[in-house]
């Protein structure tokens, strides 16, 4: 501590990091998330077979053992491999859907917050529309309409994930609209688009990050729910929701077919949510609910 000569030069990021590091649950879930992402990225390196290879047909439904960590499923596929590749599907859909939510949510939120009036009214009615239609029903209908599939699920999740981001951005932009620096920019003749891009959106970066991270678990849950109902990611692709649904049929004896995907899904969603909560508390202490 003796070398700290100029403590005042520390930026807000340093303090955000300090607050985040002090939150043990968030740190732990960050580590878990990192491990999961690493496993998903390097899936081919830590598994022996491909996710759809029926390499162990003679040992189908084998219980977990030293050779098959999570057992073998009913179609002779190594279940550990399926779970690891399932993380790929779940995380990809989560991140992609969250990214799409942010892409839809930022412009709408910024326009509604900056212009107010009619634009705000229109965006708020749109949000109202999305808040009264049960997302699951609409997702089921859209899933039927498009036949399901990987990219459809991302789109559906984004369609219902942008509302949160939009509201966060709108609130932030509204709060900054009347600030002096925005007034100054307006006085110097900056166009609304420039002000939104250069001044308002960068100032809303922490709610955007929080909105992004918190949209991930919602998208993952939607994917799992739809796949569980059989209208999500189609079968050969490993998806945890789908595996839980299949595992249900074998539950009385081959319990591992239901337990491992259930645990994987719960762990991933929980870790992402806690990570997002920690990030929210760290980036914006005023939002902190304690």
């Amino acid at each position: 501590m003796t070398t700290e000569v100029l403590p005042l030069q520390r930026g807000p990021l340093y303090y955000a990091w300090r607050r985040f590091a002090a939150n043990r649950a968030a740190m732990l879930s960050g580590v878990v998330l990192l491990v999961l992402v690493t496993m998903a990225v390097f899936a081919p390196l830590i598994t022996r077979t491909g996710p759809t290879d029926q390499a162990f047909l003679t040992q189908a439904l084998a219980f977990p053992s030293g050779e098959f960590w999570f057992g073998v499923d009913d179609l002779g596929r190594d279940f550990f491999t399926r779970i690891v590749y399932g993380a790929r599907v779940s995380l990809t859909i989560g991140f992609a859907a969250a990214a799409c939510s942010v892409i839809i949510g930022i412009p709408l939120g910024a326009v509604a917050g900056y212009y107010g009036g009619r634009a705000d009214w229109a965006v708020m009615r749109l949000i109202e529309l999305f808040s009264v239609v049960p997302p699951l029903l609409a997702a089921m209908l859209l899933g039927a309409l498009t036949g399901g599939g990987f990219f459809t699920i991302i789109l559906i999740a984004a369609l219902f994930g942008w509302v949160q981001v939009c509201l966060l951005v709108r609130a932030q932009v509204k709060a900054f609209r009347e600030k002096e620096f925005v007034r100054a920019a307006q006085a110097m003749g900056a166009s609304p688009g420039y002000i939104i891009r250069r001044h308002l959106v960068p100032n809303a970066i922490s709610p955007i990050i929080v909105g992004f991270v918190l949209a991930i678990p919602l998208a993952m849950m939607l994917e799992a729910s739809l796949s569980f109902l059989g209208i999500g990611v189609p079968p050969p692709t490993p998806s945890w929701g789908q595996m839980i649904n299949t595992g249900m049929n074998f539950m009385y004896f081959y319990w591992f077919l239901a337990v491992f995907p259930t645990g994987a899904l719960a762990l991933t969603v929980l870790a992402t949510t806690l990570f997002g909560d920690g990030l929210r508390d760290a980036l914006d202490p005023t939002l902190k609910g304690r």
């Binding site: 529309l129 309409l145 839980i244 337990v259 899904l265 304690r290």
Partner: protein, 310 residues
């Protein structure tokens, strides 16, 4: 106030109209028709005849007007998958199990959640708080079919105390209701905790303490009353949410409720039932929000309508 309610009703009517048009178009845009199933193949002529009988050969806008005209007279048509009854009769038959499941879930979960949230808020940063918060986070993040799965495994498969599925006898109600109750419990635990902490930090609580009021009276007469405002508003939408929220619980426990029809009406292109379900649920949500907002304003004299924004 009346102006506000009228405005909201107009907005609900608009929402209802937009939702009905979008859903109707989407529904008919889904490839395939109600008689394309594989289990009962029919010839092209028969199919055309059936479609003509049901008016499915007319242009879409005519079909829409016909259907919505019926809806305004509370006639939701006849479900294709069970032509012996009207949609309303089918709902009357399938809704009660869902309602019992959801209603009991909310009525058991909400008070438990409130207690949990209170315990957490009053023992802030203690192990009780951490335990309650962990429980609430788990309940909100773990999908309900996962919770159901665990309950089935533990209580039905391993301990063999309760049946894993069915709806006949009351003891088969226990697990599904328990599974469903986790959602309202977690929601309420979170809400109550943050609402109570909000109020506990208000200056008037400090004044009451300085005045020497016993802590119990402060909590029950002042803090809880103020905190309950936020809690009242979530109740009704959550209750309505049970209509769709129970789809998974019903699927897991094989409960003969409404849930299965949400899926089957979409899969089998059962247009009247599909429209009816989505329209009714949407309308109930609209009114649930409206009633919640009015209740909030009645309970909280600081809120007054009419200042442009609500």
């Amino acid at each position: 106030m009346i102006r506000y309610i009228l405005g909201r009703l107009a907005s609900i009517a608009l929402t209802f109209f937009v939702v009905s048009v979008i859903v109707f178009l989407m529904m008919h845009a889904v490839p395939g028709g109600p008689f394309d199933g594989n289990d009962m193949p029919v010839s092209a002529e028969v199919k055309a005849k059936l479609n003509a009988n049901l008016g499915l050969d007319k242009p879409l806008y005519v079909q829409y007007l016909n259907y919505m005209g019926g809806v305004l007279r509370l006639d939701f048509g006849v479900p294709f998958q069970s032509p012996g009854e009207t949609v309303l009769q089918l709902l009357g038959r399938a809704w009660p199990p869902s309602l019992i499941l959801g209603g009991a879930g909310v009525l058991i979960g909400a008070p438990l959640g409130i207690l949990l949230g209170m315990a957490a808020a009053l023992n802030r940063n203690s192990w009780i708080d951490y335990l309650a918060s962990a429980f609430a986070t788990l309940g909100l993040t773990i999908p309900v079919f996962v919770t159901s799965m665990m309950l089935i495994l533990v209580f039905a498969v391993w301990l063999n105390w309760l049946p894993a599925s069915g709806w006949g006898k009351p003891h088969s109600w226990v697990l599904p209701i328990l599974a469903y109750a986790t959602i309202p419990m977690a929601t309420y635990a979170r809400y109550t905790r943050s609402a109570m902490l909000d109020v506990l930090n208000k200056p008037f609580v400090t004044v009451l303490r300085a005045k020497g009021l016993p802590e119990r009276r402060i909590i029950f007469q002042h803090v809880l009353r103020n905190a309950s405002l936020a809690m009242v508003t979530v109740f009704l939408p959550m209750f309505i949410g049970t209509a769709t929220g129970s789809i998974f619980v019903e699927a897991m426990f094989r409960v003969p409720g409404l849930g299965a029809y949400f899926v089957s009406s979409i899969e089998q292109r059962d247009y009247p039932l599909e429209m009816a379900l989505i329209l009714i649920v949407t309308l109930m949500f609209c009114f649930a929000y409206l009633i919640s907002d009015i209740a909030y304003a009645l309970l909280n004299p600081r809120i007054r309508f009419g200042g442009g924004e609500k």
